[in-house]
């Protein structure tokens, strides 16, 4: 029987919507107020799906998952600027969709055994983006 394991973390960043291929004026025209540097508290639910190990009763050791999330997400993003402290948003603006997709791509590399099933990013109280393994 497959079991979903979800761990939730929170991080705070600054960001601005900006595409490197556009001028300052074009970015402002396209993204409006989001082209200004601003910030968000993000909450991230990371869900792994798998069989429980018959000996340990675990899908994954949560200590290992915590370490992966620290290394992959927290150390990169928490109290950082998404545009200037990473090179992940040079081509795509850090919308909730793209932040969630980038985290999905980074975690797909880092989470062992294809266990990653879903990331859900809460960007403020009113917007949630979910990225899940394709149908």
């Amino acid at each position: 029987m497959l079991v979903d394991v979800t761990r939730t973390i929170e991080f705070a960043t600054s960001l601005r919507y900006r595409r490197g291929d556009l001028s300052e004026a074009e970015n402002r025209e396209l993204f409006g107020v989001h082209a200004n540097r601003h910030g968000h508290n993000y909450r991230l639910d990371v869900t792994l799906r798998g069989e429980t190990d018959p000996v340990t009763g675990m899908v994954i050791n949560l200590t290992d998952l915590k370490a992966i999330l620290e290394e992959v997400v927290m150390s990169r993003f928490d109290h950082k600027d998404l545009n200037d402290d990473t090179d992940l948003f040079e081509k795509r603006p850090p919308t909730p969709e793209n932040v969630a997709l980038v985290i999905w791509e980074l975690l797909e590399e880092a989470v062992p055994n294809g266990l990653l099933a879903r990331v859900r990013l809460h960007a403020g109280a009113d917007t949630t983006v979910e990225v899940a393994a394709g149908a």
Partner: protein, 138 residues
């Protein structure tokens, strides 16, 4: 490619009466209990609207948030917020239970989401109280 869904969460207050015109007063009281009070009662409804699709490379969005918000405001909030739901045409024959509200909102939003964005409506969740919520999916 992974699937990407974006959910916007809205709130509005509405009044309703849970009673069917096809039932007697006694039957409505028996089935709907205190919710059948003919003078009505109300809730602060929460509605989560989820759209699904490809992320547009130019904007970085599945659907522009301001367009989804505008569709919701024009189609639902303008009619449902601070209103008696039983007075709306969609609840003329259907009882405005949270399940029927979720279905009505889904039906009202599906076409404009398709027409005005490149995404599709994936689900509508109506949160009636902290104890109950109802979700309709495509």
């Amino acid at each position: 490619m992974p699937t990407v869904r974006k959910t916007r969460s809205y709130r509005f207050p509405s009044a309703h009466v849970l009673a069917s015109r096809e039932l007697s007063g006694a039957d409505n009281d028996r089935i709907f209990g205190k919710c059948a009070n003919p003078n009505g009662h109300g809730h602060d409804y929460g509605v989560d609207v989820c759209v699904e699709g490809e992320v547009d490379e130019a904007t970085g969005e599945v659907a522009p948030t301001h367009v989804v918000d505008a569709i919701f405001d024009e189609t639902i909030r303008a009619r449902y917020s601070h209103a008696m739901l039983n007075d709306l045409p969609e609840f003329e024959t259907e009882v405005p239970t949270a399940k029927n509200i979720a279905k009505a909102i889904f039906q009202a939003l599906a076409a404009p989401v398709t027409e005005r964005t490149t995404a599709r409506l994936a689900s509508v969740r109506v949160i009636e109280t902290s104890n109950n919520h109802f979700e309709v999916r495509a």
